[in-house]
């Protein structure tokens, strides 16, 4: 039997691309904790649908969960920054991350202290 094998699997990361575009954030949410954190956060920051956002973070438990996701996101960002094949568009990513943080603060997900801490971490790269 002739066995079917794929090409090198060396293209751009599917998960990374998903996280960047957030087009399929819903799918990402269902898949893994880390991916979910990235997808959900980004989707919420970008959609700016205050009503839907409010529904998603209404209870104290949900807010706590969001905080954990943020922590995980930050850990991941730190990890990504430290990885040897660094993203080519580092500057653009940085700005996007900072904008995202700002939106999280505006939405009341991050308080000022958390915002400053996260910002410092992003800038420290």
């Amino acid at each position: 039997m002739i066995r079917r094998r794929p090409a090198a699997r060396s293209g751009p990361s599917l998960v990374g691309t998903m996280a960047r575009t957030a087009v399929i954030a819903g799918t990402a949410t269902a898949v893994s904790g880390n991916v979910a954190a990235r997808g959900a956060l980004r989707a919420q920051a970008q959609q700016q649908q205050a009503a839907a956002q409010q529904a998603a973070i209404n209870t104290q438990a949900d807010v706590e969960q969001m905080r954990q996701q943020i922590d995980s996101l930050q850990a991941q960002q730190t990890q990504t920054a430290a990885a040897p094949p660094a993203a080519p568009a580092g500057g653009a990513d940085l700005i996007a991350q900072l904008q995202q943080l700002g939106e999280l603060r505006s939405a009341g997900i991050l308080n000022d202290a958390e915002f400053e801490a996260a910002k410092a971490r992003i800038l420290a790269g």
């Binding site: 819903g26 893994s32 998603a56």
Partner: protein
Amino acid sequence: MPFGPIELLVVKFPDNQFNGEIIPAMQELIDHGTIRVVDILFVTKDADGVVTEQEFGDLVDDLYTAYDPVVDDVNGLLTHEDAEQLTATLEPNSSAGIMLFENVWAKRFADAVANANGEVVLNERIPRIVIEELVAAYDEASA
């Protein structure tokens, strides 16, 4: 767009064995024109947490033969980086199948809409947490 919507699925199993027991369920979805598998990758994590990727083409004979009818394509869109990231939270002595499948039904539906001069303007998967919130609010209101 040549594809219908593509979904990413990671299925976790205990132990480091793929036995093909989910194949009949997949076969049914394929026979009904619901999905089409476009990429698949198998990952195992041993007792020490060491991760090993296994290509569809490297499965043992029995398993390859079992999966062969349900795997339409192995397009390689899933990367090694994806496999690593998606299985990072897998516990030792477990395994996972990572799969990309096309929602064939959605493409058929979109084609039907287009034929009727309609246009799909939004097709979004609603996060579960949102539905739970809405159902809870509904139950509260009607209690």
